[in-house]
Each structure stands twice: as structure tokens, then as C-alpha cells.
């Protein structure tokens, strides 16, 4: 379902951004860590979009490579 897909992506992003942004867990989520997590999500989506867009431009090359 749509909701499961959404939660699957949130799990995967939380997993990755936690490793990048969280140092020692403390009694609250400090602003530096919050900022890092939000940026991490945004830059990860930027990266995915960049990859997909760039792939579309080179689609023919890519298809032939995958068909090897």
C-alpha cells in the first residue's frame, strides 16, 4: 500500500540519517542534530532526483548496458 511504501522510505532514511547525524544520544534532540537530519533527508531526495533525471537523459546507453 501507499502507507507501507511511505513508512518503508521513512525507515530507510531514518536509518541512514541517524548514522550520519547522531553522535551520543542526549536528553533531547538538540538543534544541531535536528538541522542535520532535516538536511540529510532533503539532500538524499535531491541525490535520488539528480540520479533519476540524469539517468533519463542517458536512458538508451543505460538500457543497452543492462541488456548485456
Amino acid at each position: 500500500t501507499q502507507k507501507q511504501r511511505f513508512q518503508g522510505i521513512v525507515h530507510s532514511l531514518t536509518d541512514q540519517c541517524w548514522d550520519i547525524c547522531m553522535e551520543k544520544p542526549s536528553s533531547r534532540l538538540d538543534s544541531k542534530t535536528s538541522f542535520c537530519i532535516t538536511n540529510c533527508v532533503d539532500r538524499f531526495i535531491d541525490t535520488s532526483n539528480f540520479v533519476v533525471n540524469r539517468l533519463e537523459k542517458t536512458q538508451s546507453t543505460f538500457s543497452s548496458e543492462l541488456d548485456n
Binding site: L13, T14, D15, P25, I37
Partner: protein, 55 residues
């Protein structure tokens, strides 16, 4: 929420228990409790950030 529980256990075990000893001492328990709350905070923050990007 099974997947979230599994993730929290794995991540907080790794963060809070460097060398497993013969019991879970109180400083490790305190660390796990904070780690768990921060992981849920992070999950909610990621959920919000991702929602606002796909809308």
C-alpha cells in the same frame, strides 16, 4: 511497529553497549532510554521532512 522496534534495538544496542558484559548496568539502561526517545524523535522528523518534500 515491529520494524521500528527491531531498528531501535539494533541501533541503541550499537550506540550504548560497546562491550557486552554480564548484565545491563544502569548507565547502559539510561543510554538506551535516551537513544530510544531520540530515535523516535528522528523518525518523526524524517517523516515530516519527507512528507513536505513529496507534497
Amino acid at each position: 511497529a515491529q520494524e521500528l522496534l527491531t531498528k531501535i534495538s539494533e541501533k541503541c544496542f550499537k550506540k550504548c553497549i560497546a562491550k557486552p558484559s554480564s548484565s545491563l548496568d544502569s548507565s547502559e539502561q539510561k543510554c538506551i532510554a535516551m537513544c530510544m526517545d531520540r530515535y523516535m524523535d528522528s523518525w518523526n522528523l524524517v517523516s515530516k521532512a519527507y512528507s513536505s518534500r513529496i507534497q
